[in-house]
Symmetry: C2
Subunit: 456 residues, 2 copies
């Protein structure tokens, strides 16, 4: 919808047709966990622009309930099926923005009642209904003896979360806040893998404080039960649950493009150049279905997150409206709130990943006060920086702090450094804003840069 809106705005004479399989467009999927949690009262609040507004105010021919089943790049026609039959739509330029789908992990019992994923608005609706139902019943039940519910007057039940990425962590918060005893299963040895070791550990410790049971190296093999799920099975461990949220990541939806001869890249997502054009002329790909160039390595990467999707969509809109526009790559920047913590990451944080990209990484983590030590509020910011030892180039970084202590916004300094290829010595000399309510004289980012530079 970013592309459609931008194209139409830049060239109102264009005929812009959008096919959407579902009923919802332009919604903030990132807000779904907060809807399930109960902090957002209606799904409609997540919608930025309604289908009616797209049609009436932006003059975009938006056809919801239309499933595109074929792209014919030779004839320049797409075929879509809707309630009223099949339509063939010719095009001059085409954007494939098929997004990503939840990964279906090799787990038995995914079909059982009480097993959920969280990708779409209807997923969110179902989960919220489940939570409401369980809560209303929860008052009548005795608390379980689990790690969370023993502290609750009533317990809404034990639930499993499979996967310790954003969705897993955000949903652990959402469910715990509703009185569920949450058991989170992670395949590897840390959660939020992309955030680097120190940040992962900080969030893990916080989840433990919030009585979320986190199981590491816990490859879930079965969601056991009868018609409904009754337990999560991971190796020898079997944890009784009444519901399971599966959040094991997403994969790009590429079938439609691949069938049309559009090339996929090394990540499995659709390959596209700086203008998001695929190997097929005038066919573009943007968003969660497509690759983007990593700002550090210059190599294709697949980071299915909102900002890159928006930015690239907008660039495609400008391009097809006549002004060829590249919209930069991705730094793989991400942010997450986990209960009363916040964390962000950007660039290449993991030393192993840096080595694979041909660098000689040095990674250091520091802890610093989030505000002047004498200031009455404040907490601790942990900053992890990964630099290339010989050149000092900042490859990536990660930050964690209490919620409200600025880990996420402070990461803005690192995104610039990563994107511009700044040396850590130069970063340590940045004249970042300082006042006692906001940081120490040297912001934690600067302290980290000084420390890392001193160890090169």
């Amino acid at each position: 919808m970013s592309a459609a809106s931008k194209a139409k705005r830049d060239d109102p004479d264009l005929d812009v047709v959008v096919f959407e399989r579902g009923e919802w467009v332009s919604y903030g999927a990132c807000g779904l966990p907060y809807y399930v949690k109960g902090e957002i009262q209606s799904l409609e609040e997540l919608v930025s622009v309604t289908p009616e507004e797209f049609r009436e105010e932006r003059d975009i021919d938006l056809r919801t309930g239309h499933d595109v089943v074929d792209i014919d790049p030779d004839e320049r026609v797409v075929t879509a099926r809707g309630d009223d039959g099949t339509v063939e739509q010719p095009y001059d330029s085409l954007l494939v923005a098929t997004g990503a789908a939840a990964v279906t992990p090799p787990i038995d019992g995914l079909e059982r009642e009480g097993v959920y994923t969280l990708g779409s608005m209807s997923d969110g609706k179902q989960l919220r209904e489940y939570v409401a139902r369980a809560r209303s019943e929860g008052d009548l039940r005795q608390p379980d003896s689990g790690p969370a519910c023993q502290f609750l007057e009533t317990c809404a039940g034990s639930v499993g979360v499979v996967g310790g990425g954003y969705i897993g962590v955000e949903m652990a918060e959402a469910l715990s806040a509703n009185g569920f005893e949450v058991h989170l299963f992670q395949r590897g040895d840390r959660i939020l893998t992309q955030f680097g070791e120190a940040t992962s550990e900080a969030v893990r410790d916080h989840l433990a404080e919030r009585d979320v049971a986190v199981y590491f190296d816990a490859e879930v093999t079965e969601l056991a039960g009868g018609e409904a799920v009754e337990a999560v099975v991971a190796g020898d461990r079997r944890v009784p649950v009444e519901m399971v949220l599966v959040g094991t990541g997403v994969r790009p939806r590429t079938e439609l493009a691949a069938d049309a001869g559009i090339e996929l890249g090394p990540t499995g997502a659709i390959a596209a150049d700086a203008y998001r054009e695929t190997n097929v002329p005038d066919v573009y790909a943007a968003g969660d279905c497509a690759e983007a160039e990593h700002v550090v390595t210059g190599e294709p990467t697949h980071v299915p997150l909102a900002l890159t999707a928006n930015r690239h969509g907008r660039a495609v809109g400008r391009t097809v409206a006549g002004e060829p526009t590249a919209a930069g790559g991705t730094a793989g920047t991400a942010a997450v709130k986990a209960f009363e913590m916040e964390a962000a990451r950007t660039g290449i944080v993991d030393p192993e990943a840096a080595r694979e990209a041909g660098f000689d990484p040095l990674t250091e983590t520091i802890e610093a006060n989030s505000r002047a030590g004498y200031y009455p509020e404040g907490g601790t910011v942990r900053v992890t920086l990964t630099v290339d030892r010989p050149t000092g180039r900042v490859l990536g970084g990660s930050l964690a702090s209490e919620y409200g202590e600025g880990a996420v916004h402070r990461s803005h300094a690192l995104v610039g450094a990563v994107t511009e290829g700044v040396a850590v010595d130069d970063l340590s000399n940045y004249d970042l804003a300082y006042a006692p309510p906001f940081n120490t004289t040297w912001d934690p980012v600067l302290t980290a840069a000084k420390v890392v530079n001193g160890k090169r």
Copy 2:
């Protein structure tokens, strides 16, 4: 003390002697307003490292109570007077770090009782004592009918603040929080002049909401009264007050250096090269008494703020310990909290200043949600960006938001852009961190960059 500590750490064989006129060293002067406000309970909390720690743990020969009265660069000797007479101290390398002094504006009556400035620890102590005294008496008094006190059960009295810079604004908060009716007098047509028009207006509006009376174009000519101050006189206006805080800026303390033949630069502060060395070999100058190179213009500038002072001091320490170290310039970055608002600025914000520096400026201000629109908390961030129209180079920017909504930490993105000479189009493509509790998909900084770029 940054220089002394770093030099000694890098080369423990160095003899490091520090002369300090007063008794306090290494204290957070920026915290003084919060001490006066009552949020910090003792002056000692503002001290990072005590004189004893410098002497005993860092092996620095710190001589407090010693006033340096002469530098002889030919003989390489400084002369200092202490309680026990005059000492002559030979040196190999010398750092002049004489700081800045409060400007004495051309106002009659500055000598009256009840007139304060806030530069030193003893200033802070006196102000706090005044506040405590006035508060204890205030309970017995009827509220005045002024803009603040009419809403208070008791009023600690009417006070004047002369000057609308950081100190003026922070002290307005500190005094208002203690029940004073605050009258702030500003010579020009806006407060926080360096922050640009939009941010200044945002803070002005907020001060008004908090019942601080702000008088613009109000050049104070007299602090009238008998032995004690009784009124602030600005043109035809005469406002009765019981106390006045004069915060009209600082000037570099350069007399000692100038007398020794050390050159001053165009700003009036001590001129120094990238290594902070003055025209006199082995004599360095850093901190509030010295110039620094502006990262945008490359020209000398005088920005007496804590981080540059710390950074340059540290660099001088490294340099004299044998590793010549430049520590970058200054972007003139600054941050301020004003009641329940926060603001930051960096680079060249003011179009007039940009024109004087040879640019063709374009300045735009946007307002955006600080968090996802559907997220239950949040406010508004105003972002002002100034760019060079032909090249798109980001020259500077300013942000304002509710306190806690991230104006200051978000400014970190702009500092990098200003320092690296990034074009606004590239800035708009930065992959900044996003999650609903922290911003909209496009952080307000990105939205501002898009808008400005679109208007070039």
